[in-house]
Every structure is written in structure tokens, then in C-alpha cells.
Amino acid sequence: MRLPSNVRLVLAGILCFAAAPAHAQWARHQGGECRPVSSAYQASHATTGLGSTNTSPTNTIWLDCRSDDTDRYPDSAVNEVRLYVHDASPTDGFTVRACVSRRDSEAGQCSASYTTSAAFVGGTVITISGDDLDLWKDSIDFSFLQVEIPARFGGNGFSYLKGWVTEH
């Protein structure tokens, strides 16, 4: 059966509309979901309504934050990660990097580090994008973020990882 051209046009439009994503794909996580990289940081890691923080007055802590990796939205398709932080330390900053654990080897690898400047104090967004997400492009590996939170500065100087967003 050969359909009239106007009907074919309508059907093609409907099919295209059904196949196209409705909007940009993203996932959002509260900072309290991250975990200390090792037990050495456990005692100083705290979860609060403002996200993850470091209670140590002297030492930084490192956290692991999971990525999202599903068949529909694989982390290999992530093109930007944004971390929302509050840096309360005028002497030290946040450090973040994208990392991967290889499925078929013992190797692990991290991207270049992104930091807030040591003297900066306040809220900011740290964005990882471009070549530094190439580590996540291999679809069989296990991706995650690493975040270093500065030591507490003075009585109220807690720094927070408030949350992070991945954009596909």
C-alpha cells in the first residue's frame, strides 16, 4: 500500500517526535551521597543538610562520588560535570577530578585536577568537561569523581560539597 505524500509526512513527523529526547539529560546528587576514599578520612567526614563536610581542623579529606551509568544514559556520554561547593578556607581550596576503575585490569586513572584557589572563600561551581572526561568514554569501566575538601577553618569555617550535576 502506497500512502499519500501528506500522510507519509505526518507519520514521519510523529516518528521523529517520538524518537527525539524531550530535553537535555542530567542527573543531580546531594553532596552527602559521597563516601570517604579510605577509612583514614572516615572520622572527619560528616553528612549534613548542606552536603558533605570536613570536620578536621588540620587535614583535608578525599571523597569518592559515584557517577550515573545506565544503558540509557551511560557515563561514557557525559559531557560535563558541575560540582557546587562552598569553600570556607582562605588557606586551602577544593580539588576535584574525574576517575575510572578499569574493568579488565588493576589499573585506575584520574584526570587532571580542578581546584578553587587557596585564597578563595565562598560559593562556586567547579566544572569538569572536554578532554578530562575522556577517561569515562570507555563504556565498560567504572567511573567516579574524587573530591578533596579543605580542613575546617576556625570555629565556623566548614567547607561543603553541596552537590553535583552530570550533563549528557
Partner: protein, 155 residues
Amino acid sequence: MSMKLAAAIVMLIAGSAVGAQAEPWSRHAPLCRTVYPSNQPDVYFWVGLASGSPYDVTVICPIPDTSDRPDSQITEVRVYVSHYSIISSFSVRACRTARTGLESVCGPLAWSSSQTNVITLNPGSIWQPTDFGYLEVTIGTGDAPDPIQGYVLVY
């Protein structure tokens, strides 16, 4: 033939509409963390608090938030708590960490009733498109181990 064509178009439209809908619910084991500074152990799945905790303990539980299923579209939260707990001492509320500024905001508390092991919460407008949503659960003094069984989100 035109009737058949019309029927085919209607079926295509209906099919695409159904395919675009999110599942109406999601179900989660309680991967919650104790809120600082309670000095209590974390509440993980099947690994709860020591029996008869002498303290109220508040935990934060993650809420999934994706473009497919944004937390701003959640209409109901059902938190299932242990039958062995003193469930009337549980309370739950929806909260968010602000993306800008240093602030967290919570909605009203929902309390358990003594007749059921389910606490039902309507998050209202607390979970907004750009912020980081979470669930805050307070477990009262004397509750049994494994106090939170899990939670269901309805969209």
C-alpha cells in the same frame, strides 16, 4: 483506507505518549547516612542502629533526581519502618540543599501512626528543579535495629 490510516496515526501517537511517560514509582533500600554531629553509626541496608539507642538519630537519605524523573515531580513518599520499632517516634520530612548560597530548607514533618509501619509524606514544593533534594528521617529513642526498611517514591 482513510479510516485505517487514521487508526494507525492514533495508535502511533498513543504509543509515543505511553513511551514518554516515566514509571510511576521507584523503590529504594535505605542507603542513609547519620547527620553530623550525632555520633551514631550510619544506617545502612540491613545494618541498623544498636537496639535501644539512647538518642534520637537523624539520617539523610538520597533522592534520585534525573531529567527522566526529577524529584520536583515526586508527589508522595512512603517510608517503611520496622515493625519492631517504636514507630510512633519516627518522623520524616523532605529537604533540599540550595544550589546557590549556603542553606538547607525542609518541609513539614510527617509522623508515623501506631497503626501502621508506613509514614506517608507529601513533599509539596520543597524539591525544586535546580536544588539538591534529600529525605530526612528522625529515629526516636529506643527504636530497634534496622529501623528503616526502605522508601518508595511516587511520581
